[in-house]
Symmetry: C2
Subunit: 338 residues, 2 copies
C-alpha cells in the first residue's frame, strides 16, 4: 500500500463519520490528506484527526476536486444529490446510504462475501444497510457448503443506527422515565426508552417496512441469489450500540450445529461466542467497539429438518458501516482498482 490517497468524508461530524476517521487512522489507511465535509451547520468546526486539527467544509458539487476516494456517511438526500458529483470529479465513492444500493451497475459489497464484485465498479460502490451486513457475513460461509433456501430474521436494532440525535433521545427519555416524568418523543414516533418500536424506516404497501425490505433485497444481491426466500421483522430496541438478530435458516440438507459452528469459527470477520454453560453468547453491550461480528445460540431448528437457529450481534457503526466501507477501500487498493 505505497500509494497515498486523498480522502473525503461526507458526514464527517456524524456518528459514522467519526467512526470512519477513527478507523482510518487505526488501520493506518494510506491517507495523503483528509477532507472533512458536512452540512453548512458544521462548517468551520474543527475535528481532531490524529495530531492534526482539520476544519470542516461545506458539502457541495465542488467539494470533491482532487479527492481519490469519498466515503459518504450522511443522509440519503445528500447521497442522492452529491454522489454523482463526487464520482464525476474522479473520486471513487463508497456510499453508506440506501440510494444507490440496488442500481444494477453499483456493486453492493461485503468484502468477505463478494469482493470480486468490485472488479466491475464504475465509480460508485454501496455498502449494505447495517442490519444486512452481519446476516450475509455470517451465512455466506455456510451457504458455500450447504446452500441456504430460506432465511427468517427478527432484529433488535439500536438507536445509534438512527444517529446521534436518537442516542440523545434514548438518554433523555430513560432519565425522565426513571425520574417518573413524562416523555415527549422527537426522533421516533413514540417513546423508545424501556419500550420497543416495530417500525424502522417507512412502511410499504405490502406491510413490510423499507428496513425489512432492505434485508430481503440486499441479501439476495450480495449473495447473488435473486430468488432466495427471506423475511424479516425489524424492531427498534432501547440499546445504544450493537445490532442484534435472531435467525432461523433452512439449508438444502440437514447439518449438525457443531458442523456449522466449526465453519463459522474458520470464517473471516466472525467470532463464535457459544458456551451456554457459562452464559457466553453475543450481547450488544460487549460487541460495541469491536470489529468482528459475534454469533452464538447455534442449534438445530426443531421446526425444520434442514433448519438451524442462531443469534447474531455486531457493532452497527463498525462492520455495519464505517469498517465495511474502509475494508472495501482496502480491497480496491489491493486489487489495483483505485
Amino acid at each position: 500500500m505505497s500509494k497515498e490517497l486523498s480522502v473525503a468524508i461526507v458526514g464527517a461530524t456524524g456518528m459514522v463519520g467519526r467512526e470512519l476517521i477513527r478507523l482510518l487512522l487505526q488501520r493506518r489507511f494510506p491517507v495523503k490528506a483528509f477532507r472533512l465535509l458536512a452540512s453548512s451547520r458544521s462548517v468551520g468546526k474543527k475535528l481532531q484527526v490524529g495530531d492534526q486539527e482539520i476544519e470542516v467544509q461545506d458539502t457541495n458539487n465542488n467539494s470533491f476536486a482532487g479527492a481519490d476516494i469519498a466515503f459518504f456517511g450522511a443522509t440519503p438526500e445528500i447521497s442522492q444529490n452529491l454522489v454523482p458529483a463526487a464520482a464525476k470529479a474522479g473520486a471513487v465513492v463508497i456510499d453508506d446510504s440506501p440510494v444507490w444500493r440496488m442500481e444494477p451497475d453499483v456493486p453492493l459489497v461485503v468484502p468477505e462475501v463478494n469482493a470480486a464484485d468490485l472488479e466491475q465498479h464504475g465509480g460508485v460502490i454501496a455498502i449494505p444497510n447495517s442490519s444486512t451486513t452481519p446476516i450475509v457475513l455470517a451465512l455466506w460461509p455456510v451457504h458455500q457448503v450447504n446452500p441456504i433456501k430460506r432465511i427468517i430474521v427478527d432484529t433488535y436494532q439500536p438507536v445509534s443506527a438512527t444517529g446521534a440525535r436518537a442516542v440523545g433521545e434514548l438518554t433523555e427519555q430513560a432519565r425522565a422515565v426513571l425520574d417518573g416524568k413524562n416523555v415527549t418523543p422527537h426522533v421516533y414516533p413514540h417513546q423508545i426508552a424501556f419500550n420497543l418500536l416495530p417500525e424502522i424506516d417507512v412502511f410499504m404497501d405490502n406491510g413490510y417496512t423499507k428496513e425489512e425490505w432492505k434485508i430481503v433485497q440486499e441479501t439476495r444481491k450480495i449473495m447473488h441469489e435473486p430468488d432466495l426466500l427471506v423475511s424479516a421483522t425489524c424492531v427498534r430496541v432501547p440499546v445504544f450500540v450493537g445490532h442484534s438478530a435472531a435467525l432461523h435458516v433452512e439449508l438444502s440438507h440437514p447439518m449438525p450445529a457443531d458442523e456449522i459452528r466449526d465453519i463459522l469459527r474458520e470464517a473471516p470477520g466472525i467470532t463464535v461466542q457459544d458456551e451456554p454453560s457459562i452464559s457466553l453468547y453475543p450481547q450488544p453491550w460487549t460487541a460495541a467497539g469491536r470489529d468482528d461480528i459475534f454469533v452464538g445460540r447455534l442449534r438445530q431448528d426443531v421446526s425444520h429438518p434442514n433448519g438451524f437457529a442462531m443469534w447474531l450481534v455486531s457493532d452497527n457503526l463498525r462492520k455495519g458501516a464505517a469498517l465495511n466501507s474502509i475494508q472495501i477501500a482496502e480491497e480496491l487498493i489491493a486489487r489495483n482498482l483505485i
Copy 2:
C-alpha cells in the same frame, strides 16, 4: 355467580400476587375471604385489599384448610412442594409455574382457546408461561379456519416476568449507565440495562433454553396439536412490563392478511392495532396495564406461499399470569366445576 369462595393467594407479596389481588377486586370475583400467603420473610406484613388490611401468613402444608381455590404465583419450588397439599386440602389449584404444566392429568388452559379442558380437571390446573399465552390466544382463531403448520417466534421479554428484584436491577443499572458508572449484575448473568440477553431460564442439551422449549411444548398441548412445528428464540430486553414477539406462521393454504386481520378483530381477548400510516402498532409501554393482547404488523410473509408475519404484545402480568388465572377461576364457576 352467587357462590362466594375462600381464596388463597400464594406469593401474595410478589408482582403476580399483587396483580391477582387487584384484578380479583376489579373483576368483582366472588371472594368470601382472602388468605394471603407468602414466604416467612413477609409474614406479618399487612396488605391493603380493597378497604381491608390483611396480614400475610406463612405458606406451608397447613395453609390451605378451608380454601376453595388457591392461586399459586410464587416460585417453581413452592409450587413443587405445596400444590399437592393445597389440592389435598380440597382447594382447586390454579398454578402459574412450569412444574405441573406438562402433566397429562393437569389441564393447561387459556380459556379463550381450551376452556373445555377444564372439565377433566383433577384439582390442579396450570396456566401457560407468559410467553406462550399470547401466542396461542392470537393464533387459535386463525387455526380454526386455516390449520397452522409451523410457528417461528422470536421474543422480546421484560424484566417484570422475572420478578420485582429484576425490575429493581434494571432501574438501578439504567441509572448507573446514564451516570457513567459501572454495573454489577445480580439477578441476570450480565447487565440488562441498554443490553439484550438471549438467555431465559436454563439451557438444555439441544441448545434451546427451557423458556423456548416451554413455547414449543405448551403451544402443542393447549392447541391439542402434538406434532405442530414450533421454534423460538427468547431474548430478555430492557423493558419493564409487556411481553413482545415477532411471529412467522405457515398455514395450510394461502390467506390474505386482511382476512387474518378480520378474524382477529372478531376474536375475544385480542385488540388489533395495525395502522402503519399513523404508526399504530403494539408497544409494550402502551400494552402495560391492559387486559387484551395486542396484534399488529400483520402481513403476508414473502418467504412462504402460505405464510404470514405478525407482531404481538401483551401485559405479562395480566393475560400472561394473573388475568389468565382469574379467567380460569371464572370459567370453573360458570361451568360448575368448583
